[in-house]
């Protein structure tokens, strides 16, 4: 009998899983269920090229919509799964139907964290996660408009850069004492802070938000300092939460994400999970972690597909990320901690430098800014947990390959 693999969630992990299944000549049936109206698409350009109007929507799709019919994939968009019935190995869908599976891949991703303050429901208050969010934001962005961004994470700052270029007056409100505090070193935060300010972005650190004001539509943001920032629109970027409810209700092990092993297997032998939603072991960190990243979604999508095919290959990659703001290409590899020793390679004033992170002398992470040549060698040093010579490391003329 033909085997059926059902994939829940139509994001990057799902797209990669399908690609890996196809590349391995999987001859069973595949069903893909997504709650958005779109076939799987790339999310990174949402806050960059798509928002700027530089990329056509169709360019974001991993496969043309016709691909799914050609390959006989049962594609169900604008559809949600309401329940997993593990004993019967079937799903209940929100259209009332049921769908049987032999193997199930949960690639349900994460959703934006909503802010719960007075005025949060006013029109003009946006979040950014999917295509529809960006189309909604883009329809309102215009030269001269006043945009307030809540949160200075890298997606927020990418939006700030795009909006600033479009002639929007941008204010960023951030609770922490520096921008991108969760992902980069203080030296890198300081650099980006200065770049945005020089471009005309008003950044206010250590500033929380207590209310949005307006009559039907937002007109101002009230900060915890008592300031009132005039706003024509607001974008809230305060993180995401993993979509674990289906797994939890089905009794799978869940702990800040669906718990999986290094081959993306959950506590049920027929159920797998991949992407932002998973809590997985990291040999590098020596503990379980949950990542919100494209690289992790793609690598786990592949690992899950291989495991479903009975050819498991443990996934143990150095996590990496990237962010494009203005003319700056930021690449991040490894996971730094606030207590790591940060060593700057090069002069930030040249807009081309790296910051390497050492933990007990071991090379654990890097941020490169327009310094592409450091990125791949650094990934290798991190994977090998290499102890490096600090003096050489601090010299940007010494290649990381020579350490």
């Amino acid at each position: 009998m033909t085997r059926t693999i059902v994939i829940v969630g139509a994001g990057q992990a799902a797209a990669q899983a399908i690609q890996t299944l196809q590349a391995n000549e999987f001859d069973g049936k595949i069903a893909l269920i997504g709650d958005e109206a779109y076939v799987p698409y790339e999310r990174p350009p949402l806050s960059k090229g798509l928002l700027a109007g530089e990329i056509e929507l169709e360019k974001l799709f991993f496969k043309k919509p016709a691909y799914f019919a050609e390959k006989g994939i049962d594609l169900r968009l604008k559809t949600s799964v309401t329940r997993i019935e593990r004993a019967a190995k079937r799903l209940k869908l929100d259209d009332g139907s049921t769908l049987a599976y032999d193997q199930l891949l949960l690639a349900t991703g994460a959703r934006v964290r909503r802010i719960s303050i007075p005025g949060a429901d006013l029109s003009g208050v946006h979040y950014l996660r999917g295509i529809d969010d960006v189309l909604g934001i883009r329809a309102e962005l215009a030269p001269g408009k006043r945009l307030v961004l809540v949160g200075a994470g890298y997606i927020g700052l990418e939006v700030a850069a795009v909006a600033n270029k479009l002639g929007t007056q941008v204010t960023v409100l951030e609770m922490m004492d520096r921008v991108m505090a969760r992902v980069v070193a203080p030296a890198v935060s300081a650099f980006y802070d200065q770049v945005h300010r020089a471009a005309g972005v008003d950044i206010r650190l250590q500033t929380g938000v207590v209310a949005f004001e307006g009559d039907g539509r937002v007109t101002a943001v009230v900060t915890d300092k008592g300031d009132r920032v005039a706003a024509d629109m607001v974008i809230v970027g305060i993180g995401v939460v993993p979509n674990v409810e289906l797994a939890k209700d089905a009794g799978l092990a869940v702990d800040n994400g669906i718990v999986v092993d290094d081959c993306c297997r959950t506590s049920d032998p027929d159920i797998f999970a991949a992407g932002d939603v998973t809590n997985h072991p990291s040999a590098l960190m020596g503990r379980n972690i949950r990542l919100e990243s494209v690289q992790n979604a793609v690598s786990q999508g592949r690992a899950a597909a291989l495991a479903m095919l009975g050819k498991p290959e443990p996934y143990n990659e150095v996590p990496w990320f990237w962010s494009d703001q203005y003319d700056l290409k930021l690449q991040i590899a490894g996971l730094s901690e606030p207590t790591d020793e940060a060593i700057v390679r090069g002069d930030p004033a040249t807009r081309k430098f790296s910051v390497a992170y050492l933990r007990d002398g071991v090379f654990v992470a890097i941020n490169t800014i327009n310094m592409l040549k450091d990125f791949l060698p650094a990934k290798k040093l991190i994977a090998e947990k290499r102890v490096v010579d600090k003096t050489k490391l601090a010299d940007p003329n010494v290649s990381l390959k020579e350490l």
């Binding site: 690609q19 350009p45 991993f62 494209v294 690289q295 990237w322 040549k373 791949l376 060698p377 390959k401």
Partner: protein, 105 residues
């Protein structure tokens, strides 16, 4: 119809339809040719590495400094043939282009 001749990492040769206006990476990804292309084409990751076969390399626009900086650090780098497929836009002039997908690193 323009075509691209692709040799996969598994050594199979396939003929793909080349679509003007798409990058080589997009064409390879659309056909499940085993190109990860994780960063989606912004020259940030080097996971869409290919070798351009024979003389075709000379007909392509030259590598940017960014592309070279990434490529040079790959273990499978071949100075005469390596390219990031996301950085090459397919045009009618490239009809018949032959390439080999590079190993994953």
């Amino acid at each position: 119809m323009s075509k691209i001749i692709v040799t996969t990492q598994k050594g199979k040769t396939r003929e793909l339809k080349g679509e003007s206006g798409s990058s080589l990476m997009e064409i390879l990804r659309d056909a499940d040719m085993g190109v990860a292309a994780i960063c989606g084409g912004v020259c940030s990751c080097a996971t869409c590495h290919v070798y351009i076969n024979g003389e075709w390399g000379k007909k392509l626009p030259p590598r940017s400094e960014e592309e070279t900086d990434l490529l040079k650090e790959l273990e499978s780098y071949d100075p005469s043939a390596s390219r990031l497929s996301c950085q090459i836009e397919f045009t009618e002039e490239l009809d018949g282009l032959a390439l080999t997908v590079a190993p994953e690193e």
